[in-house]
């Protein structure tokens, strides 16, 4: 929420104009409405789940009296609207209920799982940008050449190959056959719990503790899932970079700069690239949103103890609170990423003012 209110207040210089304020307010209202919609959808999914919420708390062996007591305690005798309001109230206070499989509050579980997902997504975004941006630029500048075709094939494959399958094939090739990377999990089993968790991101924690053996092990485990996830961001980033670049290369200022005698690389990097930086930043921000989808499958394939694996475990055991809350959390994250990248674009690109 913070970015929105700040945008409303400072979006057009220090003093907000009334029009600017109205636009900002409208945006806040629309985001709030979407959040309410997210809550309604997850509540609806929770109601539909084929699990008895009372039995989920008490376990299958239960007397009639206990069942009725828990039934009342959970407020299941109230109307749907009251239950929905109760749900919203709980979420606003950070109370997402308990997981029936882990026995812990879902909020606590999610907080523990999130750094693992963040570490994986960050690594994937780094891989995706480091490969995708240069590839897209090279493809645009050498339009129709072999590198352009390679970029196109990478893109097509990224939009066609199921990510979980690529993960499995990667494990088969790079772990089972070549022994280049580690197996499933975040570190080798005997390093588990050797570095104190500070950020929850294994590599960062290992670096803080100065334990380079654990660091290497964590890297060996991270590199494959991050590369597979990153491959899919590469497909998207390189395609967007290519089209942004192509748009710039046909502009008159590029021709003028070339006519003035500037070298090709100077025109590409100092002029054209400079103009697409902001667009690229928002693309990379949006990539994080796209990664959320892939991370559910990749975490399942690689036994990565993040939010995605937590969700699929919850699905397997019909754990209502886990499914509802994780879907909600991912929705909120996705929405936040969209709002922030939109805001970044408006803030950083002078042409949108």
């Amino acid at each position: 929420m913070a970015p929105i209110t700040r945008m409303a207040a400072f979006g057009r210089g220090a003093i907000p104009t009334s029009a600017g304020l109205r636009v900002g307010l409208g945006r806040v209202v629309s985001v709030l409405f979407t959040l309410l919609g997210l809550l309604a959808l997850t509540f609806f999914i929770g109601r539909l789940l084929p699990a008895d919420p009372v039995l989920a708390v008490t376990g299958p062996e239960v007397t009639k009296a206990t069942y009725d007591r828990v039934y009342l305690e959970l407020g299941l005798d109230r109307s749907v609207w009251q239950q929905f309001l109760g749900y919203i109230g709980g979420v606003l206070q950070g109370d997402l209920g308990r997981s029936t499989t882990t026995g812990q509050p879902v909020m606590q579980d999610l907080m523990r799982a999130f750094p693992a997902t963040l570490e994986l997504s960050l690594a994937a975004a780094i891989v995706g940008s480091a490969v995708g941006i240069p590839l897209g630029i090279a493809a645009a500048v050498n339009r129709g050449s072999w590198i352009d075709h390679i970029a196109r094939i990478i893109g097509l494959a990224g939009y066609s190959i199921p990510i979980f399958w690529m993960g499995l094939m990667g494990l088969f090739l790079f772990y089972a056959k070549l022994h280049w990377v580690g197996p499933s999990g975040r570190v080798d089993i005997f390093y588990e719990g050797m570095v104190p968790p500070v950020t929850g991101m294994m590599m960062v924690d290992a670096a803080i503790a100065g334990d380079w053996t654990v660091f290497r092990s964590a890297f060996a485990h991270l590199i494959l899932p991050a590369s597979v996830l990153g491959y899919y961001s590469t497909a998207y980033i390189s395609r967007m970079t290519r089209s942004f670049m192509l748009e710039q290369m046909t502009q008159e200022y590029v021709i003028a700069a070339r006519a003035k005698g500037l070298s090709r690389s100077a025109v590409i990097w100092r002029h054209a690239f400079k103009n697409i930086r902001v667009q690229l930043l928002t693309v990379v921000a949006l990539v994080f949103g796209g990664l959320l989808d892939g991370t559910v499958l990749i975490e399942t394939v690689f036994g990565w103890p993040g939010v995605g694996q937590y969700l699929t475990r919850g699905l397997q055991f019909n754990d209502i609170n886990v499914v509802m809350s994780t879907v909600l959390m991912i929705g909120v994250l996705f929405l936040t990423i969209n709002v922030v990248s939109d805001w970044l674009y408006r803030r950083l690109d002078p042409r949108t003012r």
């Binding site: 979407t34 919609g37 959808l41 929770g46 939009y159 066609s160 199921p162 990510i163 991912i330 996705f334």
Partner: protein, 308 residues
Amino acid sequence: MSVCDTTTPKRPRWRAWLETDTPQSVRQASLQETWRKVLYFRSQPLGMIGLALLLLLLFVVVFAPLLATHNPIAQDLDARLLPPSAQYWLGTDHLGRDVYSRIVYGARTTLRIAVLVAIIVAPLGLVIGATAGYLGGIVDEILMRITDVFLAFPGLILALGFAAALGPGVDNAIIAIALTAWPPIARLARAEALTIRQADYIAAVRLQGASAARIIVRHVMPVCLPSVTVRVTLNMAGVILTAAGLGFLGLGAQPPWPEWGAMVAVGRQFMFDYPWVVAAPGLAIAAISLAFNLLGDALRDTLDPRIG
């Protein structure tokens, strides 16, 4: 002598009729326009490859009983995890079932999901988008807010939630995917409707007394149809990947019936020693979503009036 005959083949009359510079009727002219698009589409090799792959899929689906060499669900525990051979073309899985025959029958599941999702999603998105765009105002506001809510989840996550809520099974997976796949279509149809609501011919129909419903159905929706068709085709690749993802997580077709995503999931534990159990169904998924991507790209290039 006979050499002259082969060098100048006669053009059939229907082609001459389609390619003449002086069409005699409106019908002929519009058929000529369609013909030009067909020719343009045919000139795109990648699009033709996509089309060929999809026709192959259709062929496999129709003739599955003839193409399959074994019963796809018959177990033969003496023939567990056999490598590809003359008898088992793609080897056997952990229950001794023939992987090739399972892939052949799995094609039926995949095509069923793709077709049914398209049948649900295209009209749904078209009606919502065209209505919102044409009527504007409060209706537009409400419909688009609802669309935004559905777009605020990554596709697979929402489909997972719905599929879990509805219970595992192919039909529920189809409903779950359709529920998540309509918003982009609605957005697109709305954008198209917005551009034509001010058109003179719409105003003319309105002045003749046509109701809003009639204008939307008879005059707005047909204009949105080409771009919606392309978009649905392009999104089919995503639909197939989502369906495979759901199957992989155990929320699609239920065993023993073959589904490609589920086949990958089951083969996982045997993958390191028996890779064919996983490799083959994954390649099948990739081939079909690639086909939809290629076809969709070519269709877009063909139908986009800015290029054609």
